[in-house]
Every structure is written in structure tokens, then in C-alpha cells.
Amino acid sequence: MKTNVMLRLMLKDWRLQRQTIVFTILAGVTALAVLLIGGQTPVVIGTVFFFVSMVFCAALLPMQNIVNERKKQTLSFVMSLPVSSARYGAAKLVSTVGMFLALWLILLGAGLYMVLCRHILPSGAIPTGMILMNFPLIGFCLITCTALVAESEGWGTAAMAVVNSSYWLGWYLLLSHVPSLTKTWGGQVMVWSPAVVKILVVEFAVILLTLGLTLYLQSRKRDFI
């Protein structure tokens, strides 16, 4: 019976990136712990650093796990194994997305625990928080797509720059176009308004579209090294 090479490649990626994942989770949880101090300043600092830890990892993980494979010339080693470029791309995408999703879910769980059990923020902030939590996830998917398809440090850095500056634009658009959000986030009741649901659906659609496009473009590559 032949070994599942894709699985071996994904486990290898997890082994190589485990420090980054653990560091991000620790940074995110530490930021949440700051919220426990109470008061406006710790809440602002904790919330900002909570998102910064994810934004940092959303940019770092694709660069380390995908672009470095070519930059550090380990791609020839990987491609000497019984794997096609399409399967390599799929394995890379699954491992990179899997790693980010794992830490994203852990931090989401930690954030929900802080709000629902420790009451550091009102429950009404959860819908807005969900929308905001998807920002680094979308940014991560866009950077991953660029890194995997272009496999270039230059394009990866450009994608990082565009994505990182778009977070503020996204926040601004959210506040200016969905004023109802600000009315409900201070309350004790979670309000899943049609506007919130619509935004979440669009966010998930962008994520799925980006990942699908990445797989499609990767499968059409003719020159791999």
C-alpha cells in the first residue's frame, strides 16, 4: 500500500510552523487576559492586540509556509517526492488554512468565553466581533492565494501591504454603511440583524471564492520550478 504523501507533507508543515501557531495563540490569549484588568484603557489595548496577533499571523503564516519553500530552495526536495504540482498545491493550501483556522477557532473560542462567561464585554458586541474576526481570515486567504499562485516574495509582500491597509477601510465601511451595529453592540442582547447576516454571508463567500480560485489557478500551472 502506498503512503499518503499529501498527509506527510501537511504534517511536515505543521511541524515546521508549530512555533508560529503557539506564539500567536499565546499572544492572543495574553491580549484577552489584559481585558480582565477592567477599565477602558485595558479593554482598548487588549482588543487591539487580540486582533493584531491574528493580523500578524495572517501575514506571517503564508509567507513562512508557502513563499519560504521556494525562497529557501526546499521546493525541489518536496517536488522530488511522488506528488504532482496540483496535489502539492492542495496539500499546501489545506495545511496553511488548517493551521490558521485552528488558531483562529481557539482565539474565537477564547474571545467568546471572555464575553459570555467572564462578561468583560457586553454580549451585544458578539455579532460585530464575528464580523471583525472574519477580517483577518479573509486577509489570510487573500495573502495565501497570492503566495501560492505567484510563489514570489514580492507579490506576497504586496498582498500583505494591501490587505493590512484594507482592515481600516473595512472597519470604516462597516461603521459608515451599517450604523445599526453601533446601536446594538453595547447591549446585553445579541442582535443578528439582516445586515449582520448579509455581511457574514458575503465574508464567507469571499473566503470560499478565494480558496476555490487558488486551487483552480494552481492546477493550471505548467512550469513549477
Binding site: 502506498k2 503512503t3 504523501v5 506527510r8 511536515k12 511541524r15 515546521l16 529557501k72 530552495q73 526546499t74 525541489s76 526536495f77 517536488m79 522530488s80 517526492l81 511522488p82 506528488v83 504532482s84 504540482s85 496535489r87 505548467r222 512550469d223 513549477f224 520550478i225
Partner: protein
Amino acid sequence: MTDYAIELNGVCKSYRFFELQSIALRLQRGTIMGLIGPNGAGKSTTIRILMGLVHQDRGEVRVLGCRMPDEQVAAKWDIGFASDDMRLYDSLTVGWHINFMKSIYQSWDDGYAQLLLKRFGLNAEQKIKGLSHGQRVKAALLLVFARRPKLLVLDEPTTGLDPVARHEILRELTSVMAEEGRSVLFSSQNTQDVEQISDQITFIDRGRIIDSMDKEVYLDRWRRLRLEVPDGIALPTLPGVIGIQQTGRLAVAIANAFEPHLPNAYENSGARVHAVENMTLEEIFVANVEHSREEVKA
């Protein structure tokens, strides 16, 4: 099962500033072929095409009977590939790499891997970033050899190595070849290495295969004739002679299809033959490339 480990027919690949032109190449099972060419000749592109890493624009590629690039996964189970630009993971140890390969290949020979660790003076606990260039190359080749592949494709594996390390690797390569049925394609700019281990030689230049045959035939057919040409005598154009360089009364004729009657033919024309010399593979390579370039110009 086909008799050839590698078959390339009419393979073309175009880039903006380089073109691989109708490459035809056959490597019989159980033989070592040296692929020699200057920088930018197309050695690595040819090797990448036969590994399925680059798709050819036209032509057919079969490796161990598998059509490339479509059947590359099936072919790669039995191909051991190493190139001079291949690196292992810096932050991981030699032992981790060994276990990684072991987890993939059922053909992995752990006893042989341990033997190679000793022979190459490597420590399984050492991280790749702590190894010298020579040790890194040896580690990469250990991972290839211990898989016991049917076909070894080595793209300039000895580049940048000191003579001792080169000798160790070539010795190991020769011992690996002792196993019946194993084939090797070995590209290099170092003609000494190729001459030492190859059965067949293929010269490639500017995207074209300019010659391909058995090493012994090459060494036997190429000769250098040192001539003295008295004033007023013109050297005849003889079949099998690809070039003559004359300085005053002294001339050197290069023959790529030497026949015993050639010296007599020059003597009969009035020239004196001072010596008929064998040529090294490097001299044959240089003369072949120059001749091919002149032919293309003409």
C-alpha cells in the same frame, strides 16, 4: 516493459530568451548517462521536464514507462532526484529527514541509511543549518540513495564540492550502480566526474543535443593530429576531420571520426604527422561545442 529508463522524443520548450529544441534522448535501463553542457545549455530544463516539474510545449517524455508530466506521481515512486539547488529544511535534523523519507517510501533501506551516515561522516542529531555545503549535499544524496530507486536523476550533484567529498560521492554512486537494473542520468559541467562513472555521454549546448553515444566510442573516435605543413602545401579536407588550426608551419587537426588511414592521407598530401593523440573528455566536449556552434552559424 520498455528497455529504456528515459525516452525523450522531439521535446521542445520555449522561454523568452531560451529554447529547448527537439530534444531526443534515450537512456537504456542499467546504464549511467552523463549529460554535459556549459552554463545555460538546457541541462536543468531537460531534467525538470523529465521530472514533470516543467511541462514541455511539444514532444513525448517517458520515464520508467510513465508518460510525463501526466503520470509523474507513479514515476516518482521509483525516481531518486537531487540537484545542486536542492536544500533540506534548515531548522530540522538529518534524522528528521531520514524519518520523513522512511515514512513515505516502503523501499527505504534503514541499514543502508545508517551505513551512509557513517561513510559520509554525518550525525543524525545535527540540524541541517549546522552542516557544511559538502555535508548538506551528502545528506541530500543519502536520502536519495537509501530509497533504492530504480532511476537516479542527479542534476550537478558535485558542484561546489571539494575533491575528497566529490570522490566519496562518486564512489558511492558507483557502488549504488552495482545493483542490477539501476539507471542514472548525471548532469555536470565537470567532465572528469562524468568520464569516471558514465557509460554513455550526451553533449548539450544552446538547447540542442549535439551528440550522444557510448563513452568508449567517444574516446576512441576523437583524436588530435599534430602536423607540420611545409610552405606551399595546403592541407586537404578529409572526412572525419572537423577542424584545423594552423599557426605558421604547425597545425592541429581534430578528428571526430578517426580512421587509421587519416595520418597517411595527410602524409600523402605533403604534411608531416608528428603525433596522433587521444583527447580527454573535456577536450572532446569543448571541440564538439565549438564545432556545433560553427555549424549553426554556417
